[in-house]
């Protein structure tokens, strides 16, 4: 299982912040985005948001494997 974290507008659209998705072999973040859209329908901002694997920024071609935590990070607005 890969733990998926959603925040801000993404979490609001999906109606959840924290889900798990089963993966048998490592898959890229791009592929995981497709899985998410299958599950939740179109999520505004998913395409261009940042991502982090295990709390470190990653890019779309980075691979996630079972046990990883993948976070989708909309444009930040702290401060």
């Amino acid at each position: 299982m890969v733990r998926i974290l959603l925040f801000a507008g993404l979490a609001q659209q999906a109606g959840t912040q924290d889900i798990s998705i089963n993966v048998n072999t490592p898959i890229s973040i791009i592929e995981m985005k497709k899985k998410l859209q299958e599950k939740f329908g179109h999520l505004n901002g998913l395409d261009n948001c940042l991502t982090a694997i295990n709390e470190e920024y990653a890019n779309e071609s980075s691979m996630v494997k079972a046990g990883d935590t993948l976070a989708f990070i909309p444009p930040v607005s702290g401060g």
């Binding site: 709390e55 980075s62 976070a71 930040v76 607005s77 702290g78």
Partner: protein, 154 residues
């Protein structure tokens, strides 16, 4: 208290300041971000901040390291509050001490700019007449590399 901290309670500014005062500091520049009521003609009722807490604290710590690289004698502490904040509440307190004042001002300013770039914290404005997540949620800004500015693939 942690030097790089996400908290849910009101921020104690003096505690953040105390973390950076030491015998060879001569200057402390403190930046405090507070909740402002009016933005243009929009009136804020209150704000909500959300964070990816463990990663946000790591990124704050990274900002502290960047500051130490650029200003070798600087000492940094940052606390950002999340949850519901009312008008005039303190959202973030940054304290940087250095031997001389110019560095303190520059480093403190650097810290707030970096927070707005790389720290996973989100602000939702609750206006009198609606609400919105701040930060270009509509997706008009592209992060072509997949990374925020200054964050490199390792």
């Amino acid at each position: 208290m942690k030097y790089f901290n996400i908290c849910k309670e009101p921020i104690d500014n003096q505690r953040v300041i105390d973390q950076v005062i030491h015998h060879n500091a001569g200057a402390v520049s403190v930046f405090i971000g507070t909740v402002r009521e009016m933005t243009g003609d929009k009136q804020t009722k209150y704000l909500e901040y959300e964070a990816y807490i463990p990663m946000a604290e790591k990124q704050l710590e990274k900002i502290g390291e960047e500051i130490s690289d650029r200003w070798p004698n600087a000492k940094t502490a940052i606390t950002h509050r999340i949850g519901t904040l009312q008008i005039s509440d303190v959202a973030v307190t940054i304290a940087v001490s250095t031997p001389h004042r110019q560095d303190a001002f520059e480093a403190s300013r650097y810290a707030i700019e970096r927070i707005k770039e790389i720290v996973p914290i989100w602000k939702k404005e609750h206006y009198i007449d609606g609400e919105e997540w701040v930060g270009n949620q509509k997706g008009t800004k592209q992060y072509l590399s997949g990374y925020p500015e200054g964050i490199e693939n390792k």
